[in-house]
């Protein structure tokens, strides 16, 4: 990285302009917990590193209306965890984010970095998809919004064009009787990469599910929204037959890699199990158990 330049941008415009001028040879820097590791190992050799942490929009947590949050792309895990209201409304998103690395990593790592790095196993992504988050993007041609489930197009590949940056994540207004859960399976208990991750977000009133979103990570080239799941779950009481049915759908959607950390069979089976456990945990959270 010996001929790399560093720029600490103070506005979105400055960051976007610098990035688009560099014609593909610039990288945005949030916490650096992916990027600096990649630069040190020679995987990436950007000519320009644009630090985005000083841009206000990227570094703030805002409640734009009652129970409706916008979280800046570079907010660290430690800082999001300090927002007690957000933590209470979105326990699944927070637990997914907090699983990333150690306390040292949490002091720096961001949701934006986890998403934009584009790993199929990024822990926060299934939780954000289940939450129904919208990515707010800024670029040389203005702003655009897309649902997180459409953000990834392949391992390490996102919809961001040259010059475009992720500004923040817009969460839907949180309804009452709603909660979420993220569970992951790792060969070791801590400091490891998910072989399967599953996010579940539901609204459950008077024993009827009125909204549901299920997402899986690390079982396909990109994190998945399990669209069929919502259709079967909504209107039901989430009895064991329904859970079995959706669990099967989750397993059918899996198209994982096969490696020493998890075989195809194992990853597929675990996806079904994690879906059920995450759903039961979410119901418990809604009931306040």
């Amino acid at each position: 990285m010996s001929d790399t330049q560093y720029l600490a941008a103070s506005t979105i415009e400055e960051a976007v302009n610098a990035h688009s001028k560099a014609n593909g040879s610039a990288r945005f820097l949030a916490g650096g917990t992916d990027l600096l590791v990649q630069i040190k190992s020679g995987i990436r050799k950007p000519n320009l590193v644009i630090d985005v942490k000083k841009i206000v929009e990227l570094n703030s947590i805002e409640e734009i209306s009652e129970n409706e949050f916008v979280v800046g792309a570079s907010v660290s895990g430690v800082n999001l965890n300090r927002n007690k209201k957000f933590s209470k409304l979105w326990p699944g998103v927070l637990e997914a984010f907090r699983l990333i690395g150690s306390e040292q990593i949490q002091g720096r790592a961001s949701l934006g970095g986890n998403i934009c790095n584009g790993s199929p196993a990024g822990d926060s992504v299934p939780a954000l998809i289940a939450a129904g988050c919208i990515a707010l993007i800024a670029g040389p041609n203005g702003k655009r919004e897309i649902p997180i489930e459409e953000f990834h197009i392949g391992p390490g590949k996102t919809v961001l064009d040259n010059g475009e940056m992720l500004v923040s994540l817009k969460f839907p207004k949180r309804e009452i009787n709603s909660s979420d859960t993220y569970l992951r399976m790792t060969p070791r208990t801590e400091m490891d990469i998910a072989v399967v991750g599953c996010g579940v977000n539901i609204t459950f009133e008077n024993n009827v599910c009125t909204a549901a979103r299920v997402s899986l990570g690390a079982v396909a080239p990109t994190p998945l929204l399990v669209k069929e799941a919502s259709k079967i779950m909504v209107g039901s009481d989430l009895n064991s037959e329904i859970l079995d049915k959706v669990s099967k759908i989750c397993m059918d959607l899996c198209d994982p890699i096969d490696d020493k950390r998890g075989t195809i069979d194992y990853r597929t089976k675990v996806a079904g199990v994690l879906f059920k456990r995450a759903t039961l945990t979410t119901i418990d959270r809604i009931k306040g158990n």
């Binding site: 001929d3 330049q5 600490a8 917990t33 590791v37 630090d51 690395g101 306390e103 990593i105 400091m191």
Partner: protein
């Protein structure tokens, strides 16, 4: 290529330095500022031996550019003792033999200090989770965890 000028406060002293864009904070601490207490073991955020406290947060100085420290306050292991008097954690680590080769120790001490700054009476589980980003190949961790818990206990009694 032009060097970047950075102004910081390190262990309560104003420190200005010039760095290359690619220098990590750890490079500058060790190679320019002669603060060699922070160690580089993995260089990839896995071991915690380079831990410092940046604006109140525990971070790995190997995963941070020196240029990013502009305007920040840093605490390193060199600032832990006061006027030659060891910090209670340093004293306890010695008494409890919570170190052997010592390579991981500055990182464990900074991490333990950050923990007690944020949470003065942690449970054993909280200590173990908090210190999960610090690796030690010698002690087996138990003595380290006990030392931190004892310091927390002593602090409670003297408060």
């Amino acid at each position: 290529m032009a060097k970047i000028q950075v102004s910081t406060k390190i262990n309560n002293e104003n420190v200005d330095y010039l760095c290359e864009p690619h220098d990590t904070m750890l490079d500058v601490l060790r190679n320019q500022l002669e603060l060699t207490g922070s160690k580089e073991s993995c260089g990839s955020g896995d071991c915690g031996s380079c831990s410092i406290i940046l604006d109140g947060e525990l971070v790995c100085s190997c995963l941070m550019l020196a240029a990013e420290a502009e305007g920040s306050k840093l605490e390193t292991i060199e600032g832990m003792s006061e006027g030659g008097k060891l910090h209670a954690l340093q004293q306890k680590f010695l008494e409890k033999a919570a170190l052997q080769c010592g390579i991981c120790t500055p990182g464990f001490l900074m991490a333990s200090k950050a923990l007690l700054d944020h949470n003065p009476s942690p449970t054993e589980t909280e200590v173990r989770f908090w210190l999960a980003g610090n690796l030690c190949r010698c002690t087996g961790y138990d003595k380290i965890v006990k030392a931190v818990l004892e310091v927390a206990e002593d602090m409670k009694e003297s408060a």
